[in-house]
Amino acid sequence: MMEKYINHRLKEKNILLMTHIVMGYPSFEASFKIVESMVTAGVDLMELQIPFSEPIADGPVILGANQKALENGATVQRCLQFARQVVASFDIPFLFMSYYNIPYKFGIPAFVDTMATIGLKGAIVPDLPPEEGREFLTEMERSALAPILIFSPNTSIERLRYLAGFARGFVYCVARKGVTGMDTDFSRRLDEYLARCRSATSLPLALGFGVKSAEDVRFLTGKAEIAVIGTATIQLVQERGVAAVAEYISALR
């Protein structure tokens, strides 16, 4: 389903953009406006992060957004409600992003059912390798939702293939070691890495971690199907407010 959407869109655009927000940061109202701006500015897919108190794979910016959202009362229920509203309002695929404890505490089957009911298209759970995710993967499959698996630069080719076996929709390729929000060196080595990813899967590739400028997006065009902008927009909102988002996104591509 999502794969089809991606390929379809790629007929009109050289590269798709996926953006990321932390639901409830800086507030749910603002979150809604950000989504609205992004969709209007032409974003193709979006990650909606359910904030978690221990976001182990996120850097300081997203980490701070998680905390702030929680302090402001971003419960899981409130996030689900927000997602419902967003999915109903905008016509692009939305994915959940969160750490495993959130669906785990909710109850995996119930969580996946809720996602399906709301109309989300998939989920990224960065601390859930397939070895630990049997139940989650089964439920996702049953509901025809895409579990987005993650490739990393130091994943062996055998393991890339192993992961690919569980992936649906697209694969999220982490550009480098480290957490979100640090600079990435867009260079020949990235080409080699993406080629390796490509050899392991026929799914579209999304590349994230450190993508933030039109130049970065240009570099990726023709190499990945999706450029993921995460930390950059949160930083933008912090520095220049929600109003700056639309212009920023439009200028990326």
């Binding site: 978690f52 108190s53 221990e54 976001p55 182990i56 794979a57 850097g59 300081p60 980490l63 701070g64 905390q67 929680l70 419960t75 899981v76 750490y99 495993y100 404890n101 959130i102 785990y104 505490k105 909710f106 960065p126 601390d127 859930l128 390798p129 070895e131 630990e132 698996l149 993650i150 490739f151 990393s152 630069p153 130091n154 994943t155 062996s156 393991r159 992961l163 982490v174 070691k177 480290g178 957490v179 640090m182």
Partner: protein, 414 residues
Amino acid sequence: MDDRGYHNGFGGAFLPEILVATFDQLDAVFRQARNDPEFWQTYENIMASYSCRPTPLTFAENLTRHFGGARIYIKREDLNHTGAHKANNVMGQGLLVRRMGKTRVIAETGAGQHGVATATMAARFGFRCTIYMGEVDVHRQRPNVFWMQRLGADVVPVRDGTRILKDAINEAFRDWVSNMDTTHYVLGTACGPHPFPEMVTYFQSIIGKEARQQVMRAENRLPDRVYACVGGGSNAMGIFSGFADEATELVGVEAAGRGLDSGQHASRLCAADASVGVAQGYKTFFLQDQDGQMKETHSIAAGLDYVGVSPILAGFKETGKARFEAVTDDEVVEAASLTIRKEGLIPALESAHAFAQAFKEAPALSRDAIILINQSGRGDKDIFTIADAFDDPGWKEFIIEKAGQYGRERSPAS
């Protein structure tokens, strides 16, 4: 990594993909070492020549008489170099780091005890060293920060999250995912993703091995009960390892803080507000809310002030292989005070939890019963906390005077 370290459903390795290869390597090196009979010998030698293993077993004659019940023995991990059982774990991991050819270590620390131990190990092995410590703890545990710095470690105050131990762990993971090629993360307790719980237990099992032999030598039979405090669970797993027999009851003692109903405690195995979850890479009982967000914890003992607990102990809880109890801050201070006066031993406030529970039970046991308490560390490192717990006026005066002196140095004009 085939065996993912499950213990009755607890454990696992919930890792970001970027760390999977690093854990595969760690797991392999650990297995290799464990299967190499010379490795344990090397480990024992280094602990004998650098720390003072075997640590003694002390018969607490005065406490035994005082309670009039079971014969009380104390395993003296307080005598270790750097003052706690933490030394066992860090030196063991140091040997693995050397095997892996890495040159840098990082660690989280709450009380500062594990940070000092790791910085010490790094100095001795010649590794570079960074210690992550919640900003709140940096302020609370300044003496340990001072020592870590003297030992050459870079101490990074963690200003994110609740700025305590769990946040320091998250931050250490963030460093690790960037620097795993050169760097090993020396986790401080029997928690975290597999193989950490097993690996830390393996190194700490030296406590139980020795204690078993020592009790047998002294009494020619096994103890009836063994008490250990439970923070992450490493000292408990260490001493319990020696007494897997049915004959000995294992008692883990958690921090009930201001009471199990107060919302201010750190009990994950005895409290109603704990439940199973997955965080920091493993599945266990956490103190968390209904959404799965981690709660703030409280204990008078900084080293017990943690949201998770060893998955191996969580397994023991489920199977009944160990019994878990919790004692309050007040009970702990009283037990520490009594132990100091009666035996001249100064248990760390963490360890004093084990003493407090043992003291509750000892009087009701018969005079030929034998109980063993693990004194995981020494309390003189805790003077700021203990002096506060005793509300000592002389100490306060001293600090106020000292501050006055420093203040005058800063503003020589005034």
